[in-house]
């Protein structure tokens, strides 16, 4: 479960470049819920995810994960609860390390790391099993450097890494945006499968309104650092992109001009 209350964050406070990114954002995501997040550029989507993962600390407000206050904790202390897949396929893995080494890093996420061998034989079987479900032939390439994989393959492995050990929330930051349409669809299907199988609480930022409505159980729209729109269940079914746009404009009295929201 995620509970964010009244988050405020301003970048470059007190300078001419002062930029309020979160302006009293509140959102509660229930256990096992899969929420898609949309919003135009600068709406605060990525900042919100960064605030949840600990990469940025909010100026005020409270963030709770599974009932525990994590507002002041740095990223590495939240990692046991929060797993994450980045937009940039290069960001979520280490290209100089092998596939199995990357996965060995992830299997210990949020746990103490000792002096025992990192890539244990019993892990290898698990890695191979997980990689086999991707149908990319990676199960025979455990010792290959991550840098040899394509962007789509790396995103798929990142997802697998996020699911290797039980974290309660999964943050996806436009993780299909840098991929070609076919690969993006493959990665999205994999995402849905992992979230369903592991009953994860997930937050997926997307740039596509269509995807936001089709995937997950609930859709949230951010605008100027606030939640302007939150729809789930029956209201959400049958909703089209143009309905969503109309609702958005009615709620805010603003016109959506960002083309990228309309496309896709």
């Amino acid at each position: 479960m995620i509970a964010a209350q009244n988050l405020r964050l301003t970048f470059g406070k007190g300078t001419p470049l002062e930029n309020p990114a979160l302006c009293g954002l509140s959102l509660t995501v229930n256990q096992g819920e899969f929420v898609t997040v949309i919003g135009s550029n600068g709406a605060g989507k990525s900042t919100f995810l960064n605030a949840l993962s600990g990469e940025v600390l909010v100026d005020s407000g409270v963030i709770e994960v599974d009932g525990e206050d994590v507002t002041k904790l740095p990223t590495h202390k939240r990692a046991g609860r929060v797993s994450r897949v980045f937009q940039d396929p290069l960001a979520g893995t280490c290209e100089n390390l092998t596939i199995e080494e990357n996965m060995a890093l992830a299997i210990k996420r949020g746990m103490r790391r000792g002096l025992g061998t990192a890539v244990k034989t019993r892990y290898r079987d698990r890695f191979r099993e997980g990689l086999a479900t991707l149908n990319l032939g990676l199960e025979n390439r455990l010792g290959d450097k991550m840098g040899l994989l394509s962007g789509g393959q790396r995103q798929a492995v990142s997802l697998l890494m996020a699911s290797l050990n039980p974290s309660s929330i999964l943050l996806l930051d436009e993780h299909t945006a840098a991929l070609d349409p076919r690969t993006a669809e493959f990665v999205l299907d994999l995402t849905k499968r992992i979230i369903r199988e592991q009953e994860k609480t997930a937050l997926m930022v997307t740039h596509s309104m269509k995807q936001a409505l089709e995937v997950g159980d609930r859709t949230v729209m951010l605008h100027q650092g606030q939640v302007v729109f939150d729809i789930a269940g029956q209201d959400r079914e049958g909703l089209t992109v143009s309905d969503l746009l109309k609702l958005f404009e009615k709620q805010r009295g603003i016109e959506v001009t960002d083309d990228s929201l309309l496309l896709g």
């Binding site: 590495h76 979520g92 280490c94 390390l97 080494e101 996420r109 000792g114 002096l115 990192a118």
Partner: protein
């Protein structure tokens, strides 16, 4: 060309600088942390062990103390960077400068002779080996033990976390790795190794001198880069072997250059030769490639 003594001498210093190269591999390659502290931690190791040895301490204990002192120096550099947010290169220069004064304080004078003292080498002279072979045998054992320990460490969970910290800090944090502590630990280990090298160097050369650290970073880098050019470091083990091989090859190259009388080089040209060798080691692998592609085109 090379006398037997000069050959053994090259191996002896090469093995010591292999330890320096291990340290530089840890900071420059694993952590991506350009660390110049080594110019201060090398004489620091020498100073600490020299002072302890002339005061009657067991030489192995003195060597151990040198490692700890070196680790402390590395921890200072890394803390300046991680906690006080000073640029890594600058932080290391600050520690290096400070260590010059610290080393003078530790020794109480600019140099300490160890010629008649008991060192880690003393017991080995009674074992029937030739005088000039003793350091090579002992330092070879030390270097291999350190290599194996370092290799096992880099393959451990903590070692892997350290490699991730250098390669992709954002990903490392997302995997729950305290990257700040990893940098402190890694730079401390790196300087501990360099101080060990300084301590052994002082004991085999028979003196610790406050200026003996000048240029250690360049020699270490020369060994590292040269070794990587010879043995492409695809795995941790290969990278560590490359450090050792690079350091020995470097010393052999220096010995050859200084002994080949027709070239007319003298001892005072050492640093110039070093700079040229480093440049060649960096440029040659690329040059080989462009020569190949030139012929492929035509």
């Amino acid at each position: 060309m090379l006398s037997e003594i000069a050959l053994y001498g090259a191996f002896e210093t090469g093995l010591i600088y292999g330890l320096v190269a291990f340290g530089i591999y840890l900071s420059f390659r694993v952590l991506d942390f350009p660390d110049l502290t080594v110019d201060g931690s090398f004489p620091l190791g020498a100073a600490v062990s020299a002072v302890m040895i002339i005061n009657g301490w067991n030489p192995w204990l003195a060597t151990g103390a040198a490692i700890i002192a070196g680790m402390a120096a590395g921890a200072v550099t890394a803390t300046l960077n991680v906690r006080l947010k000073i640029l890594n290169l600058l932080a290391s220069i600050l520690t290096m400068i400070a260590l010059y004064s610290v080393n003078l304080r530790i020794m109480g004078r600019p140099n300490i002779a160890l010629l008649s003292e008991e060192t880690v080498l003393t017991p080995w002279y009674d074992m029937g080996l030739a005088f000039h072979q003793v350091p090579v045998v002992l330092f070879f054992i030390v270097a291999v033990v350190v290599l194996i320990l370092l290799w096992r460490f880099m393959e451990s969970e903590t070692g892997l976390a350290m490699r991730a910290t250098g390669a992709n800090p954002r990903m490392a944090r997302a995997q729950g790795i305290a990257t700040g502590w990893m940098i402190i630990l890694g730079v401390a280990l790196s300087n501990g190794l360099v101080a060990l090298a300084g301590s052994l160097f002082a004991q085999s050369q028979g003196a610790a001198d406050v200026t003996m650290g000048v240029g250690v970073i360049v020699v270490g880098l020369a060994s590292l880069i040269g070794g990587e050019a010879v043995l492409s470091p695809r795995s941790v083990l290969r990278a560590l072997l490359a450090c050792l091989i690079g350091a020995i090859l470097y010393r052999l190259a220096i010995a050859l250059a200084l002994n080949a009388e027709f070239i007319g080089l003298k001892t005072q040209d050492l640093n110039l030769i070093t700079a040229v060798l480093v440049t060649l080691a960096i440029v040659l692998p690329g040059a080989r490639h462009s020569v190949k592609s030139f012929f492929a085109r035509s």
